[in-house]
């Protein structure tokens, strides 16, 4: 047994089965319980290098991190009003989404999306909703909605 390594195929297969099991229990509502998946990774790797709340800086930082960690090849975006359209190229978790779709389930969670959401919420205190994950050839198209500042509960 090789120490400290498991295959990507094995990891993605487990992720798919976990997501599928969760979807089977919670249905469409499962998406709302996975919005913070990746938070530990975000806190340890992403948050320390976020210097500003500029959307461009946030996406650039997430892109660099995902590239350095070998998670995705590229992340690009366009913005219009409060909508953010993000394209994630060659994500290594893509087989998870493909398996979900093959079983008739709309993909509902995405680590790169969560990193962007967590970054915007942390730096701008503005809530963000992942509205859609669409699968394209070699890429995932994400649609995010950015809202006004969160109400204070203090």
């Amino acid at each position: 047994m090789k120490p400290n390594t498991v295959s990507l195929e094995y990891s993605n297969a487990l992720m798919y089965e976990l997501e599928k099991a969760f979807y089977d229990e919670r249905g469409k509502g499962a998406r709302f319980r996975t919005t913070t998946v990746g938070r530990e990774f975000f806190n340890s790797k992403c948050l320390p290098i976020l210097k500003s709340g500029e959307i461009d800086h946030i996406i650039t930082t997430v892109r660099s991190l995902l590239q350095e960690e070998g998670i995705a090849a590229d992340v690009t975006y366009t913005g219009e009003d409060r909508l953010l359209r993000v394209r994630v190229e060659r994500c290594l978790h893509r087989p998870v989404e493909d398996s979900m779709l093959a079983h008739g389930i709309e993909p509902f969670t995405c680590l790169p999306a969560n990193l962007i959401v967590l970054a915007i919420e942390e730096k701008l205190d503005r809530p963000v909703e992942l509205a859609e994950i669409k699968l394209a050839e070699g890429a995932c198209q994400l649609l995010l909605v950015i809202f006004e500042k969160r109400p204070s509960l203090d």
Partner: protein
């Protein structure tokens, strides 16, 4: 002369008369009524009789305001996401009245569909212990008991799940109410005196929802 009902008739009437009430008069809910409602909740069934439910009664206006903000924000996000992906338009496709459709979209995407919590005289936050097997089912049974007792008392209530659905909102709600880690926030039930009567919402025909022995064979057949 008061109307009289058999127990069966009274039970069905309470079930059929229940509505989701989002507008309340300023009149407070009496302590006696609240006691009855909480006793109904306590008597719900639970797996292994685990009784995982706990209830936080919120009357403080400042906390109610925060509950409303949290719930409104959560609903607004969820429904706006549905709107920008055109799924909401598909869901309402059969509604032909454009003015009604627009009003419904506005009510949902603005979060007002849940933000009314701020104006409810009292809210019961239903939470449950995670260290049991059947938490969601047990607490749902308790919530239905609450709603039925509210109806029997001629009060109005609404079952609001918005601030408990997304894990991000649930975390804020737990902070607000000081809920410990081993407790899950399940739902908020707003209660008050309705400002007006509400019509029943449509229900699917019974022959569409009941099957005989296995899926697909209608239990209720069309008349020959």
């Amino acid at each position: 002369m008061p109307e009289t009902y058999s127990l069966v008739e009274a039970t069905l009437k309470v079930i059929q008369d229940r509505r989701s009430i989002r507008e309340y008069s300023p009149e407070q809910v009496s302590d006696q009524d609240l006691d009855m409602i909480l006793e109904a909740a306590r008597q719900a069934p639970s797996g292994e009789n685990a009784q995982p439910w706990r209830y936080v009664v919120v009357k403080d206006p400042a906390t109610r305001k925060k509950l409303g903000a949290l719930a409104g924000g959560a609903s607004g996000r969820r429904f706006t996401a549905e709107f920008v992906t055109n799924k909401m338009q598909e869901r309402f496709a059969s509604l032909e009245d454009e003015a009604k459709k627009k009003a419904a979209f506005e009510k949902l995407t603005s979060g007002q569909v849940s933000a009314f919590l701020a104006d409810a005289p009292v809210s019961i936050v239903v939470v449950g212990r995670k260290d049991v097997w059947d938490l969601p089912y047990d607490t749902s049974a308790a919530i239905e008991n609450i709603l039925l007792m509210v109806t029997a008392l001629d009060l109005g209530a609404c079952w609001v799940i918005a601030p408990c659905i997304d894990i991000r909102d649930e975390e804020r709600l737990k902070d607000l109410l000081n809920l410990p880690e081993g407790i899950k926030a399940v739902s908020i039930i707003s209660i008050g005196h309705p400002t007006r009567p509400h019509r029943p919402r449509p229900r699917l025909p019974i022959k569409e929802i009941v099957f005989r022995e296995t899926w697909g064979d209608p239990y209720y057949k069309d008349e020959a």
